[in-house]
């Protein structure tokens, strides 16, 4: 069934089809529409979800944690400062191994206050122990949300999942997308049957006890192993999803990478713009390609290194600053992943699109021009730079 939906409505619709037990609901732009649409489904009796309105995102995530520990499937949605207010609870959810699903609609994190898209919110939570899946468009936002629960709830994984999409660009733009039948969605995700939960009266359970140092590191080992196991599970779920939808997903998407010599690595909606630039360059005989990262946590380091092994120059494009003074977070991961290659491509980092700053096909072409220059001259120039800002100097 094909339907024109905004990214937010697509995710809310996926939630309706899933019919979760509990939603911790609190509004924040640009994710507000998700709990709004869902409230309508609750009011219309289309779902039997316990819809818990709370006074903050700290509380919406607390609701999800308590409900999931009790044995209920829980969801929430947030953006930007809302995600930041959940910060402590994100760690609690992950370390208690509670597979909550959170729709993160990416928005710049203050300040100065800004409501538009960049990845500074979810990148700030990248080390919280959540699986992170990023969407390019509305279809992927819908599909990723449906795949989240079978990934996070798998016994060998048991980790919360954050499905991310770009604020406004994806969350508010309307696209025709393919929806699955509700029966198919429910069959795909199945019942939530954890081995142990608070409401299971046969055996009392304590969740989140104080962990003294003789035990803490062992529990972190278990958590780290679960994140490694998630990579395999993500691919299994993608294969199963392809069977019911016909749509193929992996850890990242390789676009015209077969013989690519110049490549970009980026995340999210900018991939559409980058694909247009790649197509244009290919017409001119430039061997350009793109890797769109879908899974940022667990980071597909080995797979990415293999995919980039044959390239000569790569630009990693970060839609969040990171303020490391050494490049953005995606750059740090990518450069680390490529270290083990015998022959590494030249690698540069371009930070772009902060606070909703537009990126155009022409900008991407400039980045490819720079990669071309690097391969011709062997001079890499500034490794870490920005594009799209007004400047007295020439940029890129």
């Amino acid at each position: 069934m094909s339907k024109p939906l905004s990214g937010n409505e697509a995710v809310a619709y996926a939630m309706k089809q899933i019919n979760p037990d509990v939603m911790g609901a609190f509004p924040i732009t640009p994710s507000t529409e998700i709990p709004e649409y869902f409230a309508q489904y609750v009011a219309d009796g289309e779902v039997n979800t316990e819809y818990v309105t709370v006074e903050s995102e700290h509380s919406s995530m607390s609701v999800c944690i308590a409900a999931q520990a009790a044995g209920a499937r829980s969801v929430s949605a947030t953006s930007s400062c809302g995600l930041a207010l959940m910060y402590e609870l994100l760690y609690v959810a992950a370390s208690c191994r509670l597979p909550i699903t959170l729709a993160c609609v990416n928005r710049a994190l203050s300040g100065p206050i800004n409501i538009n898209a960049d990845h500074s919110d979810s990148m700030g939570a990248r080390d919280s122990g959540w699986i992170q899946i990023y969407a390019e468009n509305n279809q992927e936002a819908y599909d990723n949300f449906i795949m989240a629960m079978p990934i996070g709830e798998a016994p060998g994984v048991r980790l919360p999942v954050m499905t991310c999409m770009d604020g406004f660009i994806t969350s508010h733009a309307v696209e025709n997308i393919e929806l699955l039948e509700t029966d198919a969605v429910r069959k795909f995700i199945g019942e939530y049957n954890p081995d142990n939960y608070l409401l299971k009266k046969e055996n009392p359970l304590a969740v989140g006890p104080y962990d003294v140092s003789p035990y803490y590191m062992e529990h972190k080992m278990l958590q780290a192993e679960a994140m490694k196991a998630a990579k395999v599970r993500i691919l299994e779920v993608a294969a199963a999803f392809e069977n019911i939808s016909g749509r193929h997903y992996s850890l990242f998407e390789e676009y015209r990478m077969e013989d690519a010599q110049l490549a970009l690595v980026l995340i999210g909606s900018s991939a559409g713009t980058a694909k247009a630039a790649v197509d244009k360059l290919r017409e001119d005989g430039v061997k350009a390609g793109l890797i769109k990262i879908r899974i940022f946590r667990p980071f597909p380091g080995e797979e990415l290194a293999r995919a980039l092994a044959g390239t000569r120059a790569v630009a990693v494009m970060d839609k969040s600053e990171g303020f490391s003074a050494n490049g953005g977070p995606l750059f740090a991961e990518t450069r680390s992943a490529l270290y083990d290659l015998k022959e590494r491509p030249y690698l540069i980092n371009i930070v772009y699109g902060l606070g909703g700053r537009d990126i155009k096909v022409g900008d991407i072409e400039k980045v490819f021009d720079r990669l071309m220059d690097i391969t011709v001259t062997g001079e890499i120039g500034p490794v870490y730079s920005h594009i799209g800002q007004r400047s007295k100097e020439d940029i890129v």
Partner: protein, 102 residues
Amino acid sequence: MISAKDINERTPWQDLTPGGEIYEPGTARFFDTGTWRTNTPVFHAEACKHCMLCVPFCPDSAIPVKDGKRLDFDYMHCKGCGICENVCPFPAITMVSGGAIK
């Protein structure tokens, strides 16, 4: 399902539970938290009328009761807060300085 008594400080990470979950109640009983104490209550059995006021006031359930009579303190769990001395209507509990059992 692994039980708390089978987990100790030599248990490898592979054998611990996800998130440190504990699948049974009352396991705090086995954990010595009395070492934090800086003051210690002393029970004077001869002055005690077994009115049982101290028992519900103890925040750590460190006053055992058997057959309607309170017994000496459970020093493995007593934190030395002194609430019992405060609520005791008789000279049956006195606090002394230091964590050691007198």
